[in-house]
């Protein structure tokens, strides 16, 4: 009975397509307090005074809280394993506000109308301070984003709040300067990747209530229930035993919900008032006061011989963490560690970075997590190198790419135990017709058709850190219940993990029900991020099922009064090989509920010392209008190696969804601030995510490999898929126009202006 590899329908699919009330706001208590926050209009300011007395008189207002009412212990909202590398630089409300949108006061009231009215009646006097709005010059600036003494960093990441530094490091192998000096060609380029919004359709939202045990129950749209519990404990200064966090269906995450964003405010209100409350972020709040991708400027030096052998890579990343440091020290690492190792036989490499504080909205986790920025830079530099060498960029990559079995010094010294990157490249080249189309064809009507290429990699977990766990239980009638702490945010991990369980237990996937994620009842899981669910939690499921099978055989042996060694279990029946006697799984399940001393429930945990990368190649064909600069995507082919494909439908949709997000980031999506630090693109009217008219035709194929450390050979897929569109598109635009754009997004306007300037 083969379950892994099947395009099985998601378990919650029909509830979702018929619009059942399964999301946080649908299920929030109906009589709960509405919670909203007053936000700072200044990028950097000290609150001199807040007057809330008149606002509190608005009928229906429960209470209003300011910086004087909240605990003074700093914490981080980053959803990471303790001790978090992100600095403890937050308070629920701070007297010092550090970006336009930073919370100033919490208002709780019976209805939205009275809360909105009260928000307008709070009088705040600010002492406005000079602000740092640009990431250049933030380091060692006289203006400090976090001057406070109570700021602290738990891990040695090179952080120093007195230098506006959230993290800093240098690593490498060999003498990169010497190798570069010896190269025939050295190319140095700087690339800038904008902050980009995850823009999941469901904005941030949380509902809270106190249960019969006096505990704070937090229902939130989150990827990280266990981290939510710790963060709320830190923020509110209450024991973790007093908190339960759980998630219903999530309307998209993409990393945005790997950070605590909306949770602390209603949690604080409910803990104070003991009344249920909820907070639903508006789209404007989600755009202006959340956790988008880190803006990064990546400088790449690449050295090669004339025949196209890439010998050295030197990468420096300047990352902008904004007003707070969530995920600042960790995202930046991927910009080098997941771009440099794409090139397999470098003689030397160096990777260094600085992560700086500025007075804009703080950044956070977003699909790709820094690899996206680094791969854009390195892949763009390599495309330009190919151009300079007069080589086909596909040939150049075939010559230099990492191959299976190769040691990867820039990837934490891991070995590529499964890698089909070369096959991905060959297949993508065939699919798009690279030979005929590279580099471009002038269509004679003011339009040029051109192609571009990029490759990418990611990880499958945070090695040695992430923990996935699974509890599997046999019930009467031979059905199984699988409990997980990983959060399905629409990707289908509930179904994928059920497929892994069904495969292990040799039963139909319908026989496995899934529940999670709930800090009270789920086994510990670090959460759904770092692409780790299938790889890490999937392995835990596999192991739990193996152990459960042993228990099932043990119970069957008691029933048949024989030794376990005489029994064979095929998922349906346990059979005594010598006598032919057998009991069915239904009988074993039923017997486990009467006079039984063998618990037919097993929990296993799993953590991996390695993080085997998935690989992919993306190639795009565009038609560029030289008059308007408009880029039309004609065809995007993606060939992915994610090891064993557990569910081809769900994997394909992951690839397609990630590519469209990548296209948006490359061509349209823009976060812009005015000189006061106010965001201009604060709605979906101004922040344009791609529609179905913008993405052309996508074609996805898989070149599977077998990853020995993954469940049934699987690696990850969630994040890698966003990494190739930007470099491939910028390559295609260069092939059409001769202009190498180094700053995303490359809008039509920029292209048209670039062509004009070139003509002059």
């Amino acid at each position: 009975m083969r379950q892994v590899g099947q395009p099985i329908r998601k378990k919650d699919a029909m509830a979702l397509v018929t619009g059942q009330p399964v999301f946080t706001d649908d299920m929030a208590p109906k009589d709960c307090l509405i919670v909203k926050v007053l936000r700072s209009p200044h990028a950097n300011a000290l609150i001199k005074s807040i007057k809330t007395d008149i606002a509190k008189k608005v009928p229906g207002i429960e209470d209003i809280y300011t910086w004087e009412d909240v605990p003074q212990e700093r914490f981080t909202m980053a959803g990471q394993t303790y001790p978090e590398p992100s600095p403890y630089d937050r308070l629920i409300l701070d007297r010092h506000v550090r970006y336009v949108g930073d919370p100033v006061a919490i208002v709780a009231g019976e209805r939205e109308l009275c809360v909105d009215r009260a928000l307008k009646m709070i009088k705040v006097e600010y002492e406005v301070l000079p602000a740092i709005l640009d990431l250049h010059g933030a380091k060692d600036n006289a203006v400090l984003v976090h001057p406070e003494e109570s700021w602290r960093s738990l891990c040695p990441v090179g952080a120093d709040n007195k230098r506006n530094l959230c993290a800093s490091e240098t690593s490498g192998t060999g003498d990169v300067d010497q190798v570069l000096a010896d190269c025939d060609v050295v190319l140095e380029r700087t690339y800038r990747v904008q902050a980009a919004q995850q823009a999941m359709m469901e904005t941030f939202r949380t509902a809270c209530y106190i249960d019969a045990y006096g505990r704070l129950n937090v229902m939130s749209s989150t990827q990280i229930v266990f981290h939510v519990r710790r963060i709320l404990s830190n923020a509110l200064g209450i024991p973790k035993s007093k908190i339960r966090a759980f998630k219903p269906r999530i309307g998209g995450g993409f990393g945005a919900k790997q950070t605590v964003v909306s949770e602390v405010f209603p949690a604080f209100v409910t803990w104070k008032t003991k009344k249920p409350s909820k907070m639903v972020f508006t789209r404007e709040e989600s755009q202006t006061a959340s956790t988008p991708r880190h803006e990064m400027e990546v400088t790449v030096k690449v050295g090669a011989d004339r025949d196209g052998k890439v010998r050295a890579l030197d990468v420096y990343t300047l990352s902008n963490t904004g007003a707070y440091g969530e995920h600042g020290p960790t995202t930046v690492g991927l910009s080098g560690h997941k771009s440099i190792p794409l090139y397999g036989s470098l003689e030397a490499h160096r990777f260094s970075y600085d992560v700086v504080y500025t007075n804009v909205m703080s950044a956070g986790a977003y699909r790709g997590y820094g690899a996206t920025q680094g791969i854009f830079a390195v892949e763009s530099a390599v495309n330009e190198l190919a151009d300079k060498l007069g080589m086909d960029p596909v040939e150049l990559r075939m010559k230099n790419m990492v191959r299976e079995g190769q040691f990867m010094p820039a990837y934490y010294g891991e070995t590529a135990t499964s890698c089909a990157l070369d096959r991905c490249m060959k297949r993508a080249k065939e699919m798009i017709g690279w030979e005929e189309k590279y580099p471009c064809r002038d269509m004679g009507n003011g339009k040029v058709r051109s192609v571009g290429v990029a490759m990418g990699m990611q990880g499958s977990c945070i090695s040695g850190v992430d923990v996935g766990s699974a509890t599997i239980k046999l019930n009467e009638d031979g059905i199984y219940t699988l409990s997980i702490g990983a959060a399905d945010m629409g990707t289908g991990c509930d179904t994928i993990l059920a497929q892994i369980a069904a495969q292990s237990l040799e039963c139909p996937v319908e026989n496995v029900t899934v529940s999670g994620a709930d800090t009270d009842t789920s086994p510990y899981d670090s959460g759904s991020y770092a692409s780790s669910t299938t790889y890490v939690t999937g392995r835990a499921v596999e192991r739990a099922c193996e152990t459960l099978k042993e228990r099932i055989v043990q119970r069957a042996a008691e029933m048949l009064e024989c030794s376990s060694d005489d029994l064979e279990f095929d998922g349906q029946r346990a059979r005594n090989l010598s006598t032919g006697e057998e009991v069915s799984i239904e009988e074993i399940g039923t017997a486990s509920m009467c006079g039984n001393n063998v618990a037919l429930q097993v929990t296993e945990s799993n953590s991996s010392p390695v993080s085997p990368p998935p690989f992919m190649v993306g190639m795009v064909e565009i038609e560029l209008d030289k008059e308007t600069g408009h880029v039309e995507i004609l065809d995007y082919v993606a060939v992915v190696d994610c090891g064993t494909v557990v569910n081809p439908n769900l994997a394909r949709v992951q690839v397609e969804g990630g590519i469209v997000q990548g296209i948006g980031m490359a061509l349209y999506e823009q976060i812009q601030y005015n000189e006061k630090g106010q965001m201009l693109n604060n709605s979906l009217m101004q922040y344009k995510v791609p529609t179905r008219l913008d993405m052309g035709k996508l074609r996805v194929e898989f070149e599977s490999s077998y990853e020995p450390t993954g469940p049934f050979g699987a690696k990850s897929i969630g994040e890698i898929v966003i990494n190739t569109p930007a470099p491939a598109l910028i390559h295609a635009i260069a092939n059409a126009t001769g202009i190498w754009f180094g700053q995303l997004p490359v809008t039509s306007e920029k292209i048209a202006m670039g062509i004009l300037e070139r003509c002059e």
């Binding site: 395009p7 329908r9 998601k10 919650d12 699919a13 029909m14 509830a15 979702l16 397509v17 018929t18 619009g19 059942q20 009330p21 399964v22 999301f23 649908d26 995850q198 823009a199 999941m200 359709m201 469901e202 904005t203 269906r249 999530i250 309307g251 998209g252 995450g253 993409f254 508006t282 789209r283 404007e284 945010m489 629409g490 990707t491 289908g492 569910n647 439908n649 769900l650 394909r652 949709v653 690839v655 397609e656 969804g657 990630g658 590519i659 469209v660 997000q661 709605s683 979906l684 009217m685 995510v689 529609t691 179905r692 008219l693 993405m695 035709k697 996508l698």
Partner: protein, 158 residues
């Protein structure tokens, strides 16, 4: 002010505030399929039928629906299940938050255009944003449904 609306076949007469939005009114009446995604008429998540025509319920006052017929996905259960299964068979429902709005508009499309081309489908649904699926899976599901309908008819035709 008093309004009287036929919501999913049931007449509701009640007092409302004049500035109440239709989206808030239908959710107050338990129609949780209707979601708010943007507040600026950009995402299509809040689509409902007003006298059989798809409209954005975030951009219409409940008072405007007075004396008229409003239908949400809750009132189109059979059609939603039948067509939704084709989206589910592609894995394209993903997080599910945008599905109700997209399915409402798809149903409107099927009622309006018997055999739409890919371009007509994309154009008709251009106002329905989705951040998860990359749209290709939805298109595959819609095409598969149209083929199924051609072969044997469906609830939508009745």
């Amino acid at each position: 002010m008093q309004i009287s609306i036929q919501l999913n076949g049931k007449k509701i007469t009640e007092e409302i505030r004049p500035d109440l939005l239709l989206i808030d009114w239908v959710r107050q009446h338990g129609c949780y399929s209707v979601k708010c995604g943007c507040e600026t008429s950009n995402c299509g998540l809040c689509t409902v039928f007003l006298d059989e025509k798809p409209v954005l319920s975030c951009s219409i006052l409940a008072a405007r629906a007075d004396g008229r017929k409003v239908d949400t996905l809750e009132g189109l259960k059979e059609e939603a299940e039948e067509f939704g299964a084709f989206i589910a068979d592609q894995g394209a429902e993903q997080c599910g938050f945008c599905n109700p709005g997209m399915i409402m508009n798809a149903i409107a499309l099927f009622r309006e255009i018997a055999d739409p081309t890919d371009d007509e489908i994309k154009e008709y649904l251009a106002g329905n944003l989705c951040r998860c699926s990359g749209y290709e899976g939805q298109l595959r599901g819609i095409r598969a449904f149209i083929e199924y309908r051609k072969k044997g008819g469906a609830v939508c035709d009745k």
